[in-house]
């Protein structure tokens, strides 16, 4: 057998690919991270930056909690700052049905050991006096956090490179083929490489790679409209979310308020465009003013979006290929990949180096798309 270029090739230099490269390189693997554009420019760089723990898909908690520990140690692991702030996350309910839903989320969170505070109307107004009058209940999860997604992925990629990973930006893969028990990658510029294991973390473009190996997932590209206001005196504290899905916002210490609105909007991965319709900007502005009326005269200065990969059941694909040994998938993070990114990278590195990971990942198998897929209620709510 001819000498391989590298042990592991990773296609897709987003957050998942960068964390995977980092952990593999730290284990002494030879790793090449291949990115068609630049590292961390797609959903990894444009997302809301939430490291939210409460209200997640129940089967994701072991992975989520493992990830949070890694975020909490970001500066130690990576050697750079990504504006990590353990602000906590406040979930708001506006009626009894919503309150019941909050309670359901809280019980799931607690069953995995997370501390959740239940807060009634009087305490809500006392602790966060800027809240509007209408919220009737909330849950607060103090371990939830936020970070700056624009800074995180490039920092992780640099740390991976310090451990020996090779980062190749502006490199488009034109073909992926089986070669013995490994893979051969051909690049659009004519180059190629061979590897033993292959990680498919190509986000909204990942299903194309899966399909080369006879499996697929119904990925489609979309983006949440996001906004930022001018700086305002720093007083909001936690990341705040209305459980009806109308708005989520947080304030960074320099004063700007970042908000994301729903529903999400379809994006165009061919032309690399993720539009923000002005009507959605206005809807999110109204929703924010409802939650925090003191912001009525605060100005929105900028909007953006980005291309994220969604799946109809609103949970990602993470784990080995069911058709091809040595191929691992991690894509379709449905707008909540930022928090679990480091855990996914760590688990993939364990699967590749040790053959298994202690974290349960069965719910995320690509095999679930062989039969009819359930469409989640969240999916119906969060899209037009």
């Amino acid at each position: 057998m001819s000498e391989r270029t590298t042990d592991v090739a990773i296609i897709g230099g987003g957050l998942i690919g960068a964390w995977t490269a980092f952990f593999l390189a730290r284990r002494g693997q030879r790793v090449i991270l291949i990115e068609k554009g630049i590292v961390g420019a797609q959903s990894s760089g444009v997302n809301f930056g939430n490291l939210r723990l409460q209200g997640r898909f129940p089967g994701q908690y072991p992975l989520s909690l493992r990830s949070q520990a890694l975020w909490e140690d970001f500066a130690g692991l990576i050697g750079e700052d990504c504006e990590f702030e353990q602000t906590g996350h406040l979930y708001l309910a506006y009626d009894a049905d919503e309150q019941a839903k909050l309670e359901g989320y809280a019980e799931v969170s607690e069953s995995y050991g997370l501390a959740i505070e239940r807060i009634g109307p009087a305490d809500l107004r006392r602790r966060w006096p800027w809240l509007g009058e209408r919220a009737i209940a909330a849950t607060f999860s103090p371990r939830d956090a936020t970070a700056n997604p624009r800074l995180a992925t490039p920092a992780i990629a640099r740390a991976a490179a310090r451990h020996g990973a090779v980062i190749r930006e502006n490199t488009r893969v034109s073909a992926v083929d089986r070669s013995g028990d490994g893979f051969k990658l051909t690049f659009a510029d004519g180059g190629s490489l061979s590897c033993g294991a292959l990680v498919n973390s190509a986000g909204a473009w990942a299903h194309e790679i899966a399909e080369r190996f006879g499996e697929t997932a119904p990925v489609f590209p979309a983006g949440p409209p996001q906004f930022v206001t001018e700086p305002f005196p720093y007083l909001i504290g936690p990341s705040v979310q209305a459980i009806d899905g109308s708005v989520i916002f947080r304030q960074i210490p320099r004063g700007n308020i970042i908000l994301a609105g729903y529903p999400r909007t379809a994006a165009d991965p061919v032309n690399n465009r993720a539009p923000v319709p002005p009507a959605k900007t206005l809807a999110a502005m109204r929703a924010l003013a409802r939650v925090a009326p003191m912001l009525a005269q605060c100005h929105v200065i900028r909007v953006w979006s980005g291309i994220e990969a969604y799946l109809p059941d609103m949970i990602p694909v993470i784990g080995p290929s069911e058709t091809t040994p040595g191929l691992f998938h991690a894509f379709g993070f449905c707008g909540h990949g930022f928090q679990i990114g480091p855990g996914v990278g760590l688990c993939l590195s364990e699967m590749i180096v040790d053959g298994a990971t202690p974290t349960p990942l069965e719910p995320f198998s690509i095999g679930r798309f062989r039969s009819v897929t359930a469409v989640s209620e969240k999916f119906r709510r969060e899209f037009d």
Binding site: I167, P278, L282, R286, A289, V300, V303
Partner: protein, 454 residues
């Protein structure tokens, strides 16, 4: 019939509206300002008795004529002042008027959004008392105010001498007129500038007036710093001979020429190309001002050409609209307008070469200089992220990493200087350094503008 909408009630927008009205159409004319006239022909605030004849000097006749024409036009158009276009989506304009948002569908859109000053930062440029040259002139025209009692004019522009003359006549002392362009560069551009002898002569008259008044005029200076504790106290320069010179003053006007306000054209789908003379990305237009199937661009908002070129290009774009609506066109008038636009814009292009944007001075700015005043980002921070491994080499990525250009002005102020710093650090030409992409809202809008949730 689908509406024809003109954005901008300056010389270009008014001329376009006139041409459309003359052909039996009733356009909607939207303007962010409270009074028509744009920036150059701005009217004083209501109730302010300013001697505009004296202030406008040789342009007083044109100023009066434009406003007369606008008054005559008013009954025949749908004029909407104090209206900001904050987003464009397909054929829908999103407006902000009286603190509320609304939408307006258009069939044809003519954008004549005008220009703003281009800023070259220097140490101390964010001190109170530093204004743009255009801002200094607007303070005069709109409010009858001076930016200071002893004013230094710094930059690279023939308008430095004009503004200094206006200030002197209104009673200000002129500390210095300091131009970063060497005299030799100006002289070598003379043949090109002779294409518009009237404008050239006006410029020379202003310079002569400054010399007569005993004002110091320096050419080929290198700005060092604006000095002051809590506000402007002095301007520090190195003159062409390399001597450091300090000019006591209480205000500084910075003028490095104008840049088109292209954000709305960007949102409306215009394509852009990098222009080597202006060192800016400019929208692509055809000879009549067409930038898309229903999009027309005119005036200084698409190419710097001055007020006369703006008027002609506005009329020309209106003729293009008439043609695209299959209405009869006056071909002879269009040819004449096109020649006039071409000639005046060529003159301004010559000026842009003569009074060059000081890209080398900007690329050499010290690390400590504030580049983005909205987000408080220094030149050094930009260089710092760019010099790291996997560091960005393009303006949009630099913005993402540093927040430079992310603030209230959305890079309208810091954009051109950021572009030069990035190009110099990346060792690439201006085109490769990239273009800051426009996003709505083009100007900040309050949450309350969106109304309340049902």
């Amino acid at each position: 019939m689908a509406e024809i909408v003109i954005i901008g009630a300056g010389p270009a927008g008014i001329s376009a509206a006139e041409t459309l009205c003359a052909n039996g159409l009733r356009p909607i004319l939207i303007d962010e300002g409270a009074r028509a006239g744009g920036q150059g022909y701005r009217r004083p605030a209501d109730g302010l008795a300013l001697d505009m004849n004296r202030l406008m000097g040789s342009e007083a006749g044109k100023y009066a004529a434009l406003h007369r024409r606008f008054e005559a036009l008013l009954p025949r158009i749908d004029y909407r002042p104090r209206t900001l276009v904050w987003a464009i989506e397909g054929n829908t304009l999103h407006l902000l008027r009286d603190g509320r948002t609304e939408t307006l569908a258009f069939g044809k859109l003519l954008i004549a959004s005008g220009a703003m000053d281009r800023i070259a930062p220097l140490p101390g440029w964010t001190l109170p008392g530093v204004f743009t040259l255009g801002g200094a002139q607007l303070a005069l025209k709109d409010q009858g105010c001076l930016i200071g009692s002893r004013v230094a004019f710094l930059g690279s522009s023939p308008l430095l001498a004009l503004a200094a003359k206006q200030y002197r006549e209104m009673g200000a002392e002129i500390a210095v007129i300091a131009d970063t362009t060497p005299l030799s560069a100006k002289l070598s551009a003379l043949p090109e500038l002779l294409r518009a002898p009237h404008t050239l002569a006006r410029g020379l008259v202003y310079m002569a007036a400054s010399l007569r008044a005993g004002t110091q005029m320096l050419h080929g200076v290198t700005p060092v710093a604006v000095e002051g504790q809590s506000r402007v106290e002095a301007l520090l320069l190195r003159d062409a001979q390399g001597r450091e010179r300090r000019f006591a003053c209480d205000a500084v006007a910075l003028g490095y020429g104008l840049k088109p306000e292209t954000q709305l054209a960007d949102l409306a789908g215009a394509q852009f190309a990098y222009d080597l003379d202006f060192r800016l990305f400019l929208p692509k237009i055809d000879g009549l001002g067409r930038a898309g199937s229903a999009l027309y661009l005119a005036g200084d908002g698409v190419r710097i050409g001055g007020a006369d070129a703006a008027e002609a290009s506005g009329a020309l774009a209106a003729h293009a609209i008439l043609g695209d609506l299959r209405r009869p066109q006056d071909i002879a008038a269009m040819r004449q307008l096109a020649r006039r636009v071409e000639r005046l814009r060529a003159f301004q292009r010559g000026l842009a070469r003569a009074f060059a944007w000081p890209k080398a001075q900007i690329a050499a700015l010290p690390n400590s200089v504030t580049l983005c005043r909205c987000e408080n980002v220094t030149v050094g921070e930009v260089r710092g992220v760019m010099s790291r491994e996997l560091g960005p080499v393009e303006v949009n990525r630099v913005k993402a990493m540093t927040r430079c250009g992310m603030g209230r002005c959305q890079g309208r102020v810091c954009g051109p200087a950021l572009h030069e710093i990035v190009a110099a650090m990346a060792g690439c030409d201006g085109a490769a350094a990239g273009r800051l992409r426009g996003q709505a809202p083009v100007k900040p809008i309050a949450l309350a503008a969106a109304g309340t949730m049902a």
